[in-house]
């Protein structure tokens, strides 16, 4: 470009202005055109509209757990024993690596008490969590009879050794957060609707 300035010293401002204006205008348009190309990878309308799921709890006896699929993710539903509930309640909140309830049905800053992890008082036996380790997305063990349940009797993630307690809270290991509680409600005493 250096060679041009010699012969084009007249009106450099107008030409430069036009150059910059067209260049900038084209750049803005180019950037805007990128958005559809990026946004097309976001979940589409049909995924967003995925239906809610109703689960019949009757077959799940005390101490047992089932796994259901919701939005392509495993959801753990555990019918907890009295002992397990007590163990979960006995924990001091200050001992928890993650003191937040992570319950989609509660305010974002609700503390991670056992009461805040289960849905309500009447159904405190039932713990419903998304069965995906908050570390790197493996599915923790502990659903089947005979599975290792980790040091705190909840779930144990074999990938990197995260231990969850009987309220699905992280207690030990690399996972940063408690297992998420999905949005759900009791339609009747023996039926829940997730989503």
């Amino acid at each position: 470009m250096a060679s041009h300035t010699m012969t084009e010293s007249e009106e450099p401002t107008r030409r430069d202005f036009l150059f910059i204006a067209s260049g900038a205008f084209a750049a803005v348009g180019g950037a805007a055109a990128l958005w559809p190309l990026i946004d097309q990878m976001n979940p589409d309308a049909s995924s967003k509209a995925l239906a809610s799921l109703e689960v019949d709890l009757r077959p799940v006896r005390e101490g047992q757990a089932i796994t259901v699929m919701w939005r392509g993710k495993p959801v753990f539903i555990r019918n907890r024993t009295g002992e397990e509930i007590e163990a979960a309640r006995a924990v001091d909140l200050n001992d928890l690596p993650d003191p937040i309830a992570r319950n989609a049905n509660l305010p974002e800053d609700a503390p991670a008490t056992d009461e805040n992890r289960a849905r309500d008082k009447a159904h405190e036996r039932w713990l419903v969590v998304i069965g995906i380790c908050t570390h790197l997305g493996c599915i923790p063990k502990g659903q089947r009879v005979g599975d290792a349940r980790g040091d705190y009797g909840g779930w144990f993630c074999p990938c990197h050794g995260s231990h969850y307690d009987t309220a699905g809270r992280i207690r030990k290991g690399p996972a940063p957060r408690n297992l998420d509680v999905p949005p759900y409600q009791f339609v009747s005493d023996t039926k829940i609707k997730i989503g």
């Binding site: 030409r15 067209s22 205008f25 348009g29 509209a49 995925l50 239906a51 077959p59």
Partner: protein, 330 residues
């Protein structure tokens, strides 16, 4: 092989098996076609969704959906649509509650459940529109062998017929592109829905040629012919209306298996719109256009923005170019 496809096709195939069969009989021995055999020109209509600023008329889409639901849906599916679409922007925009209620009216098969059994449950907004028949075979069985086509994209799968001398065709192309004409399917659907008529009367002259009687004229020798075909030897033949078929002026070949679906006062409108065949046809056509092209409003809106942007960009670049090149003598 091209010639073969072509000459069989000149009478046009259709989604209706009955017509196809009748056609095969008619065409196998005879080449088309004399007055009355060709499709008439499709009249153009002004639609709220034509042109650069075109938009759907919400009230019309709702009425059209009502017509679809109460009339068409007994035979025709909309399998590419979901009930949730009815609430989406740019469409009929029914409320979430209305959509839930509409979806819940149908029983949807789901499963398997924990026992491994399929079960039925009320529909949800995320479900696809339930088709009236499980499969094409059932549809044919219920309709005398004719297959009622799915209507999801029918408004884009049909086109308008235009007859023009060859030298005017380029003019037509330019005009249609300049106008953004994309409503050929809608024009055709409206013409079809309002195109049921009595079969025309024809009289055979002593020289073997057939002549159409004007409306109101009558003759005891008159015969009902949907069209007249001429064989290679020049002999003309009257094509009678097939069994279970209906005469429709807009349908290629004029024989359609679908009986007239609309009649005055058939659907009860609550917004005071006229309850006539013409109004029903227009409303349901608009609804089907939306079903085929649900993003039309979004598209047309973005189009203006993009074109304005490009016009400014072109102007800026033109000025830049002129300024730059003015340094050169030329």
């Amino acid at each position: 092989m091209f010639n073969k496809i072509k000459s069989h096709g000149a009478m046009t195939a259709s989604a209706f098996l009955g017509v196809a069969l009748a056609m095969l009989l008619a065409v196998s021995s005879a080449a088309p076609v004399r007055a009355g055999g060709e499709s008439p020109e499709t009249p153009r209509r002004d639609w709220s969704f034509s042109g650069i600023l075109g938009k759907y008329d919400r009230a019309q889409l709702r009425r059209g959906f009502q017509v679809y639901k109460e009339v068409c849906s007994s035979c025709h599916g909309l399998r590419l649509l979901h009930y949730r679409n009815l609430a989406e922007p740019g469409g009929p925009q029914l409320s979430e509650a209305e959509v839930k209620a509409i979806a819940a009216e149908v029983e949807v098969e789901d499963g398997p459940n924990d026992e491994g059994e399929m079960f039925t449950r009320p529909g949800k907004p995320s479900d696809r529109f339930k088709s009236p028949y499980k499969n094409p075979q059932e549809a044919r069985a219920a309709n005398n062998g004719a297959l009622p086509p799915d209507l999801s994209v029918i408004a884009k799968a049909r086109g308008a017929t235009v007859h023009l001398p060859w030298y005017l065709e380029p003019v037509k192309w330019v005009r249609e592109v300049a106008a953004g004409y994309q409503e050929g399917g809608a024009d055709y659907l409206y013409a079809l829905l309002t195109g049921y008529e009595d079969v025309p009367q024809w009289v055979q002259k002593p020289d073997g040629r057939w002549e159409r009687l004007a409306k109101g004229e009558s003759s005891d020798k008159a015969k009902e012919c949907v069209s007249i075909t001429r064989s290679a030897s020049g002999k003309e033949k009257c094509v009678p209306l097939g069994d279970g078929m209906n005469y429709n002026i807009a349908f290629p070949g004029h024989q359609i298996a679908m009986p007239p679906p609309l009649s005055d006062e058939l659907v009860e409108y609550t917004d005071g719109s006229p309850q006539t065949v013409a109004q029903y046809a227009e409303d349901v056509t608009a609804f089907l256009m939306w079903a085929a092209e649900p993003k039309l409003e979004q598209r047309k809106r973005l189009g203006i923005q993009v074109l304005v942007y490009l016009a400014i960009l072109a102007a800026l670049l033109y000025l830049t170019k002129r300024k730059l090149w003015s340094r050169l003598e030329h």
